[in-house]
Structures are given as structure tokens and as C-alpha cells.
Symmetry: none
Subunit: 234 residues, 2 copies
DNA sequence: AGGAATTTGTGCGTATGTATC
DNA sequence: AGATACATACGCACAAATTCC
């Protein structure tokens, strides 16, 4: 008798494989066993396994080659929509973008936010973003509570979207950014160039997953004298 | 015997449905017949049809509700590059965006602009943009002089990008927007809510044609109290 | 309120096609 | 050419969600 609370087999299988990849037991470039063999060893049908594999493929974690095999793709490279939105220095030149996690907390969702995700709670991640070593923006990200049990600051040491993909199996496939100006918030965590209350550039973002569900909401305050917000569309 | 050059049935079916939507034969919100019925009328199996429908869903054209039905999701303004960048009212609600041409002139290119096009001259088009009847932004577009001999204001009565496409054979296929804040310029042409010199939202855009040549440069000042600049990425 | 009917979601099995080795 | 492996397509049974009466 199946557990009524359990996720579908194909989802459990996909998440299991994602965990294997995140844990390093499946390495980049590695070839999986043939689908028939995998299905047998997992105790599921080939069709169900194929649905799991298609899921991994759509998340960019697997490359499927007809006649050849299924290959793990675990590149820590930028993929997906975030490559198209970035902060860069206002006065020419590059400058490496970095992000320092200031705090992580699980809280009730903020009220002025648009609806996202099923949970009444969300993880609030506050970051101080810098470009070329210069603090340039404050960022507050709200991730729906149903997506992760707990998040520790060191989970996010690499990159936020890698954490999403590798640890949560979450790929943000569509975002909408709303831009304007807003006063700098008064955070206890952050030293930031402009004084609290001063009007700066402001971006509000909603992020959706592949199934079209809103899962993320974020706000960024940036110093327009130091940094520009860039959106690129192909 | 199946044509070896033909696409798979599920792909052909998906494209057929997409064409139906694009042609307006399937309207937004419309409910499709039950999958079993559709499959019969298309002469394919339910499984194959379901794969086509999943394709449409992943493209955001279809919403599938278990126990209810499959519903067309078609936002006609969501096509083309410029659909991804728009102004909308800050306080919810739609509101028809309009643009009034204030002046058109052929001038030397502005100096602080990034390079675009081969000519030393460019057409400068100034527009007053409104949303829902309320003036919300000033816009200045520079189009490389080599792209057109002369431009009359009434050429632009319809839409700037229709003029580009239909009269100049120019399709903007990539844009990059840089956002920040800037003081309102002191134009003689324009009545605009905020006083000249006041700091407002500011967007600087470079536009490229299909061959990757930069051809257009524009600047927009918008009142962040009235209007938000929205960038959407798929 | 509640049960029946409808509709999509999940899972399995099988046969055949096509690309790769 | 043959074997291997993924892709496509079909059909069926049951589960889960929604809708209708």
C-alpha cells in the first residue's frame, strides 16, 4: 500500500539522483547504467525512470544521448536566467561580483510581497553584494518555506542559484524584475555606503520554477552612483 | 509507413496547437476538450497528446489542472524582445501604454553614448510616454543615421518598432538595459510631472540588430512614484 | 453535505524506431 | 553488420483532484 503522503515515484527518484549528484557520488561526465538496468535495480519501470531522467535533464543536470547513454552534467557554471541580470560598476570596467551572507532566518512571509509558494513561511536571506570589492547593494531574498526545511549560511557559500539547483533541485526558469527607487532599509546587519532612508535604486523580483509556480521573491537596494543594474535580452 | 523526415507526432501536435493559439483560434482562458476526446479527434494516443500538452505547459502557453481541464494561457503582448521590457503603473492595475512623439531631429551623436552604428549622425526621437493616460516617462531614442535618410514624426504614429521593421527592415533582436537613477533633463518640449533636476528612475538601452550590430541607443527617465520598469526573462 | 461523474496524473508493459558503438 | 541504448508511440489500470447534481 503506498503512503498517501509520499511524492510520486518519479519525483522521489529524481530527488534521489539529485542528492547523489550533490553529494558527489555521481560525478560530472559520469555515465549512468542503461535505463533498463537502472529501472530494475531501483525496482521501478523504465517509463517511470525515464520521467525522472527527463526531469534531471530539464534542470540541466543530465545530458541524454540516444544510442549512447545518460551522462551527468554537474557544471558549477552560470546557467539559466540569472546570467541575464547582473550588477556592474557604473564607471566602466569589470570588477568581480561577490555576495556576503548577512543573515538567514525562517520567518512569516512579508506582507507587501506578491504571492509565492504554498507555505505561510519563507526563508529570508540577506546579503551584502559588492562589485570589485566595493559594497554596492543590499539584497533580501525570500524563498518559499516548502522548498527547504532549514538553510544554513554556509550552505550558500558558493552561490545561491547553485544551492537552489544542487541542493534543492530548483531551477528558476523565469523572473520578472520591477525597477524603481526606494529608501535604503534600516538593517542592523549591514554597513552600507548610503545612509538608511536615502533614496537609491530598487529592484523587486519574482522568480518562477519550471512548472510556472512562483517560488521566490527578492528585493535589492543598490547605490546608483557606484553600480548599475543590467538586464540583457537576447 | 512513417515519413523518415517527419518530426515526431508529439512535436507536430504541439506546433499545431501553438499555431492555433498564435492565429487566435484558441483564445486565452479557453478550455480544451478532454484529453481522451482530443486524442481521438487527432488520431493519436492519449500518452502522445499528453507529451505535446506538457510541451505547451513548459512554454507557458497552457495551464493543466488535474480533475478540471487544460486551459490556454496566451498573453499576446508577451512576444518579441520588447515585450520583456515595459513600463507599468506602480499601483497595480493595467493601463494602456501610449507614446506621444515630441520631436524628431537629425543631429550629431551625443557624446556620452556608447558606440552604435557607422554614421557620425543619428536621429533623435523624443517621446512622452504615458500609462493609463498619465504622463510617466520621458524617452530619447537615438537611431544611427545610416539606417534612414529622414524620419518624420508621423512615420512614428503607430509604433516605433513597427516603423523599424516595416519601413527600415530593421529588427532589434537583442537589447541591454542599464538601470539607475538620474536627474530629470530640462527639455523645452515636455511637460512632465517631476521638476527638471529632480532625481528619478533612469534606463539606458543599447539595441542590436540580427547581425549583432549596435544600431540604437536610448534613455528613459521615469517617475518611480507612478510607474515601474519591468523586465521579464523566460 | 455528500456521492457520482468527469478529468487529469501516475505507473506499468510492450513494440518498434533510430542513433551510437 | 550486429549489438546496445535511448526515443517514440500505444494501451491499460488505477489514483487524485475537481466538478456537478
Amino acid at each position: 500500500m503506498p503512503d498517501p503522503n509520499a511524492l510520486p515515484i518519479y519525483q522521489r527518484t529524481a530527488e534521489r539522483l539529485i542528492r547523489e549528484i550533490a553529494a558527489g557520488r555521481l560525478l560530472d561526465g559520469e555515465r549512468l547504467p542503461p535505463e533498463r538496468d537502472m529501472a530494475v535495480s531501483l525496482g521501478i519501470s523504465v517509463g517511470t525512470l525515464r520521467k525522472s531522467l527527463a526531469d534531471l535533464q530539464s534542470r540541466g543536470l543530465l545530458e541524454r544521448r540516444q544510442g549512447s547513454g545518460n551522462y551527468i552534467r554537474h557544471q558549477p557554471e552560470a546557467s539559466g536566467v540569472y546570467a541575464f541580470f547582473r550588477l556592474e560598476l557604473a564607471k566602466g570596467g569589470g570588477g568581480l561580483p561577490t555576495a556576503e551572507v548577512l543573515s538567514v532566518a525562517r520567518l512569516e512571509k512579508p506582507r507587501p510581497a506578491p504571492g509565492f509558494g504554498p507555505s505561510p513561511e519563507a526563508h529570508r536571506i540577506r546579503r551584502l553584494r559588492a562589485v570589485g570589492g566595493v559594497p554596492a547593494a543590499l539584497e533580501e531574498i525570500w524563498l518559499d518555506g516548502a522548498r527547504a526545511e532549514r538553510i544554513a549560511p554556509r550552505d550558500l557559500s558558493e552561490s545561491l542559484y547553485l544551492f537552489y539547483r544542487d541542493r534543492l533541485g530548483l531551477v528558476i526558469s523565469r523572473v520578472e524584475d520591477r525597477l524603481g527607487t526606494a529608501p535604503v532599509p534600516d538593517w542592523t546587519e549591514a554597513p552600507f555606503g548610503p545612509t538608511a532612508g536615502q533614496t537609491v535604486g530598487y529592484v523587486e523580483r519574482t522568480g518562477w520554477d519550471q512548472e510556472g509556480r512562483a517560488v521566490e521573491f527578492s528585493r535589492t537596494w543598490f547605490d546608483p552612483d557606484r553600480v548599475r543594474y543590467v538586464a540583457r535580452m537576447r
